[in-house]
């Protein structure tokens, strides 16, 4: 039973965190840190703002400050894929897209996930990331094109973008 206004949003925060980090333990750590920060900051929440988008904003900030800056990402693709796979063909596609997402520049990955997976509007995504709408659109276009290239094998799988 929902007892706190944040609670209904936890599943979506977990989904986004896992899509960003590809590691369950670290994804749940990110959700935990996000909830803790959100609790501390909730008095700053403006009533004309959507709570869901605001929680994604908090998560983005935690991710950029704590996770992306410090730690190297470890991947444990297997268990995530297992949960989603229905056929062998699926498995290949899913593995491909996870690998491809990993190779996106982090700021492109965030936009591709917020728009494509989380279905946030361009406006909401711009607010979450604190960038102009035009920046969202250019990152989205570049991110999707790069995903396309990676998944169709046009780009070398060994070519990693160094941030």
């Amino acid at each position: 039973m929902a007892s706190h206004p944040f609670e209904p949003y936890i599943p979506r925060l977990r989904r986004y965190a896992l899509a960003l980090l590809h590691n369950r333990a670290r994804a749940d750590d990110l959700v935990q840190d996000t909830l803790e920060r959100a609790l501390r900051k909730f008095s700053l929440f403006r009533r004309d703002t959507d709570l869901r988008a605001w929680l994604f904003t908090v998560m983005h900030n935690v991710y950029v400050n704590d996770v992306r800056a410090s730690a190297r990402r470890h991947t444990e693709i297997a268990d995530t894929i297992e949960a989603a796979v229905t056929t062998a063909d699926d498995a290949t596609t899913l593995r491909d897209i996870m690998g491809a997402l990993e190779r996106l520049a982090p700021e492109q990955r965030e936009v591709v996930l917020l728009v494509g997976l989380e279905q946030l509007s361009y406006e909401e995504t711009a607010r979450v990331l604190a960038v102009p709408r035009g920046t969202v659109m250019s990152r989205l276009a570049r991110g999707r094109e790069r995903l396309r290239a990676l998944m169709s094998g046009e780009a070398s799988p060994y070519m990693r973008r160094i941030k």
Binding site: H4, R52, T80, V112, L117, M137
Partner: protein, 251 residues
């Protein structure tokens, strides 16, 4: 015919995929894509990307939330509850509709919920005159009802739940005037927020849920005002909407 069309930009292809275009332009682009297979293939690929990501990560939504995460929320005294925390702690520390801690609700509270339910049943069914002051005069509506109730009122934004403000009206309450704000979704379902000075205790009280006249009513007391939400059949959603209303009156 394609010559007359405004050129389709790269950005527009993405906006088309993401449903960000006006209906008219989206229809134009759809027609244009039929004659431009390369672009059509890219659109298809972008859609495929979204579907694949969802196939991969959507199962997370159905997983039980780890207890450590819900515990984080329970452990903290949330700032949003601070305003009413003292009184809420007094009734068992719950800020939810889990009413285990409640004994028989005070008769006055039940009466309040009933009044809200009756007002909902009467006016939500009204086709011609559901409200006295329509939403296009929202400012006037809020000012007028605030003045009549002697408290600063707000019209919470429930658009996140699909409900648009229709307007509001003044009603007789138990101890004076009551305000009713009406909302409606695209299916025509109506939701009302009933606000009045409670006739019993004016101490803040936790959200409480009741069924009155076949309507689901969620009500609470805050800032010496009683609030009741009526009309949304999904209890969890009703709770979320109530939180939004609570925030609107507190932040």
């Amino acid at each position: 015919m394609n010559q007359q069309l405004k050129p389709v930009s790269d950005d527009e292809l993405h906006a088309y995929v993401d449903g960000e275009l006006a209906t008219e332009r989206a229809a134009e682009i759809e027609a244009w894509l039929a004659a431009h297979p390369d672009a059509a293939e890219r659109v298809q690929t972008y859609r495929q990307q979204n579907q694949t990501m969802r196939a991969l990560f959507d199962p997370v939504l159905d997983e039980p939330v780890p207890a450590s995460l819900t515990a984080t929320l329970a452990r903290r005294s949330a700032p949003w509850a601070r305003a009413a925390a003292v009184a809420w702690l007094a009734v068992g520390g719950i800020v939810g509709y889990a009413v285990h801690g409640w004994q028989t609700p005070p008769a006055a509270a039940t009466l309040f919920a009933e009044r809200a339910a009756v007002a909902h049943v009467v006016y939500a069914a009204e086709v011609l005159h559901p409200v006295e002051v329509p939403a296009d005069q929202e400012q006037h509506l809020v000012k007028w009802l605030s003045k009549r109730l002697g408290k600063e009122l707000h019209t919470p934004d429930f658009r996140g739940f699909g409900y648009q403000l229709v307007g509001g009206r003044l009603l007789p309450g138990d101890k004076g005037p009551a305000a009713q704000f009406m909302y409606q979704n695209t299916q025509g379902a109506r939701l009302t927020l009933y606000v009045s000075t409670p006739n019993g205790n004016t101490q803040p009280a936790a959200f409480r849920y009741e069924e009155q006249d076949g309507e689901h009513v969620l009500y609470w007391v805050d800032r010496e005002l009683g609030f009741a939400l009526v009309g949304e059949p999904d209890r969890a959603r009703l709770m979320d909407i109530a939180h939004t209303a609570y925030q609107a009156f507190n932040f």
